[in-house]
């Protein structure tokens, strides 16, 4: 697809320069991507460990691991807010988005490299504020619902301030990516030839730009309410506790798609390469990301069907929620159909991509239960919700993230990991994940409420099974992490710069890429998915 082989007169990999300064002052999108990758992985590990602690507690009905219920409540608050705001929202978009967008569109960097570094620094300031809040963490849950978050004796302001600051990083990154995709595409890289990861990143960036300010304002109101006792959300002062929920979900529902749409993009890149097939229904996948992004702004009330909203509002939002399921279903069919008459290689990243399809399908279908009004009344705030959102977030986003790590590993770091161990880790993660979360659907049907430090005896077998699953999942992630870390300390480079035979531009440069990616900006003559074209 790219015209002409690049003349590598003087190949200096972007990782060549050493020293702290070369990292903290870098404007290279690949290095900034690595900085994000390290930070989000760190928070993923911390939040994952709190999850293991929670699961260990829930193995038995009584309180036996944590000393008080408040400690358990702090644990799920940390787990939720770290995973959501510090790992999965910046997640793929900031790490792989940074690394891949310029490479995939044939650019030397993002449009505003220095603003890109600024985004990362703002992100670090946010995390510093958060880490200082860890000394006295909040117990509100990651949703910070009022009036509890106003009334609780634990410290809420620092953690919300951390999230508030983080928002600016998200907004700037979104803006940077939008401009990059508009202005820096290589000659011939038309909109209809763009890799689907770029389409997905574009849809995500729009959501980041438009939705994030709302959560910023909401958290600012919450901070003002706590610090100055103003009463936006206090009925005694003429405020409304439901107003907070409206504000919060107006951001947090689109945020769900900020988390998952980049993973859609990744799956759309991995499957064609390992099936050696063009992606099936390119336009449908590209447009459905946009359809999802737009509709996602108008479904937030489905988090509040039992909050005391009117029957009409509930009906309208149930209808709109059903609409979001349509483009999502279409994507799943498209990915599956791509395999038809292909030549499928089960590389570890492909295994993650295929498990994404299966697990995300479960996540999507269980979302339909929750969109149906009368069914949601029973299932709301039970473990069914917990299972549903983990099938979307782990089964979807995290599987996409792990798949991306294995797929672009050689390109990004210029090293090779052990493929057999990667497959073993994948197997443990897949099994462990399902053993952990599938029983939670049944627990939810039975009525087990979420956020319970202790629980009635009758749920013990589901909870115990779920805890055993969390150990398998934890072991799998540990093996995967070690397997990906070891090669970084070893010498040597990959034998081929394009081992999987991808047609995408990032694979046409050496691994790891040179500092400014391309010696000469390539000219694109065909679309990214012309696999097997005669």
């Amino acid at each position: 697809m790219a015209n002409g082989v690049m003349t590598q007169t003087q190949y200096i990999p972007y990782l060549a320069e050493k020293g702290l300064k070369s990292w903290i002052l870098t404007t290279d999108h690949k290095r900034i991507g690595i900085l994000y990758l390290i930070t989000i992985s760190f928070f993923f590990m911390i939040a994952g460990l709190t999850a293991l602690g929670m699961r260990y507690e829930l193995m038995t009905p009584e309180l036996d691991f944590f000393r008080t219920a408040t400690e358990y409540n702090i644990a799920f608050t940390l787990h939720g807010s770290l995973m959501v705001f510090f790992f999965i929202v910046p997640g793929i978009a900031a790490s792989f988005g940074n690394f891949l967008i310029p490479l995939m569109i044939g650019a030397r960097d993002v449009a505003f490299p220095r603003i890109n570094l600024l985004s990362f620094w703002i992100y670090l300031v946010g995390t510093a504020i958060l880490l200082s809040a860890l000394a006295q963490p909040a117990d509100t849950g990651w949703t910070f619902y009022t009036p509890y978050s106003i009334q609780t004796g634990t410290k809420v302001i620092m953690i919300t301030l951390g999230v508030f600051v983080l928002g600016f990083s998200s907004i700037l990154t979104g803006m940077n990516f939008i401009v990059t995709i508009h202005k820096l595409r290589a000659p011939g890289m038309t909109w209809s030839r763009l890799p689907l990861f770029i389409w997905a990143s574009y849809a995500t960036a729009i959501l980041q730009l438009l939705a994030t300010p709302v959560v910023g304002i909401t958290l600012l109101l919450l901070i003002a309410e706590r610090a100055f006792d103003i009463g936006f959300f206090d009925p005694a002062k003429g405020g409304d506790p439901i107003l907070f929920q409206n504000f919060f979900w107006f951001y947090s529902h689109p945020a769900v798609y900020i988390m998952v749409i980049p993973a859609f993009g990744i799956i759309s890149e991995i499957i064609p390469v390992f099936a050696r097939k063009p992606i099936f229904g390119y336009k449908a996948i590209a447009y459905s990301s946009f359809a999802i992004a737009i509709i996602s702004f108008f479904v937030w009330l489905h988090h509040m069907f039992v909050s005391g909203i009117s029957e009409t509002a509930a009906a309208i939002f149930s209808f709109l929620t059903m609409l979001v399921a349509i483009p999502t279903a279409v994507k799943v069919f498209n990915w599956t159909a791509t395999l038809y008459k292909g030549s499928i290689d089960f590389h570890s990243s492909m295994l993650y991509a295929l498990s994404f399809i299966v697990l995300f399908t479960v996540g999507g279908l269980t979302g339909v239960y929750l969109g149906a009004l009368a069914v949601d009344v029973h299932l709301h705030d039970t473990y069914f919700i917990v299972a549903h959102m983990h099938y979307v977030m782990i089964g979807g986003t995290v599987m996409g993230f792990f798949g991306a790590l294995h797929f672009w590993y050689q390109k990004w770091f210029g090293k090779v990991f052990n493929e057999l161990i990667a497959k073993i880790a994948w197997f443990l993660i897949f099994v462990g994940f399902n053993v952990t979360f599938f029983p939670q659907f049944f627990m939810g049907f039975q009525g087990m409420p979420r956020r319970y430090a202790t629980y009635p005896e009758e749920y013990i077998s589901y909870h115990a099974l779920s805890t055993y699953g969390s150990w398998i999942l934890g072991l799998g992630i540990l093996i995967m992490t070690v397997n990906l870390l070891i090669p970084l300390w070893k010498k040597g480079r990959p034998e081929s710069s394009n081992p999987y035979g991808s047609l995408s531009l990032e694979w046409q440069v050496p691994s790891p890429p040179p500092h400014e990616n391309f010696d000469e900006i390539p000219t694109v003559t065909d679309w990214t998915y012309a696999y097997g074209k005669k």
Binding site: L63, R67, T68, A69, T70, N73, D139, Y145, P147, Y148, P235, P241, A275, R276, K277, P278, G281, Y282, A284, V306, S307, G308, E311, S318, F319, M322, L323, I326, A329, V330, F333, T336, Y340, K341, S343, I344, I357, V358, T361, L365, G371, A372, L373, A374, V375, H378, H380, D381, T382, F445, Q446, G447, P449, R450, Y452, Y455, P456, G532, K533, K534
Partner: protein, 315 residues
């Protein structure tokens, strides 16, 4: 069906379960379809040789239109059905008996139109519709009885309603479903569905002969105290195994000398325990928040005696 959905014990459960079943059939069908196709393709088209033939297929408008329309139709059916059943959940019949519900951290109070009150136990009559008029004294709580398939958040500063007709005599768990702080998972109560005769007896005041209290007659005061401790919400804040939850643990409490917030000290004896139940803020032990509500008019003298006897046994 009972393995994945709890027993149905209200008039509303059947219609909720029917939609749930429909959604489940649709979901299982699509899940099996996608998984089977995925696994089938993975086996059939696995790479056997490097130069394996592949087809160059980019799209197919007919197939894509079909698989957009079919889910759309199914989703619209599910939406409409869910809405119809939801209307039923939201609109109580005019003849429903009203009960006031007050949710607070971390207990449930019920006020009946006869003037009776009960704590952490709701008494309703079989086959008679009940309308609950609910308010919260502090943060958001949520009324949830899985067997009835009903749930409604309870807000401070406004009334929220919920209704159901209990169809089966028995005792059902009432759970708080909206996170409300340290005692959230202990904010449990019982719904006692009584037969018409038993309900009349209960209304007349013969509490001991009814529902959950029926077993209490033959119990010693300490045993009754143990029941009360879990039923009346004490457990949410006062553990019996030495763990500090919100208030002091009851283990080894009796006979101990406690330091009070004002610097003086007090011996924990029968009178101090009684006073702390009726007037919790009269003598606050140092280091605990003044959050306990008064149980005056809620726990009788007999019940307080039973609790005192129970606390004495916790060594």
């Amino acid at each position: 069906m009972s393995t994945w959905i709890p027993e149905s014990a209200s008039n509303l459960a059947a219609s909720v379960d029917n939609i749930t079943l429909f959604v489940t059939i649709v979901s299982v069908f699509f899940f099996v379809l996608i998984s089977a196709v995925l696994v089938g393709f993975s086996i059939k088209y696995r790479r056997k040789s490097e130069d394996q033939e592949t087809a160059y297929i980019t799209h197919n408008s007919v197939i894509e239109t079909i698989w957009t329309i079919i889910p759309t139709i199914l989703l619209m059916v599910i939406f409409a059905w869910g809405w119809i059943a939801f209307k039923e959940l939201r609109n109580p019949p005019a003849e429903a008996i009203e009960v006031n519900v007050i949710a607070k951290q971390w207990l449930w109070e019920f006020e009946y139109f006869t003037g009776k009150k009960s704590l952490n136990e709701l008494f309703v009559q079989q086959n008679k519709p009940v309308r609950l008029i609910m308010r919260s004294d502090d943060v958001i709580h949520s009324f949830f009885v899985p067997q009835f398939r009903v749930k409604q958040d309870i807000l401070p500063g406004s009334y929220q309603q919920l209704w159901f007709t209990p169809t089966k005599v028995g005792t059902f768990d009432l759970l708080c479903a909206e996170y409300c702080g340290s005692g959230h998972s202990q904010m449990l109560a019982k719904v006692n569905v009584l037969s018409p005769e038993a309900f009349t007896r209960w209304e007349k005041g013969d509490e001991l002969e009814d529902g959950a209290s029926v077993a209490a007659i033959s119990l010693s005061p300490a045993e009754r105290g143990k029941e009360l401790h879990s039923q009346r919400g004490c457990l949410a804040c006062h553990s019996i195994d030495g763990k500090e939850v919100i208030g002091p643990t009851f283990k080894n409490l009796y006979g101990k000398t406690e330091k009070l917030a004002d610097g003086s000290s007090v011996l924990v004896d029968e009178n101090y325990i009684r006073e702390s139940i009726y007037e919790p803020q009269a003598k606050m032990v140092e280091g605990y928040p003044p959050t306990m509500p008064s149980f005056k008019g809620i726990l009788s003298e007999d019940e307080v005696t039973a609790l005192v006897e129970y606390i004495k046994t916790l060594k």
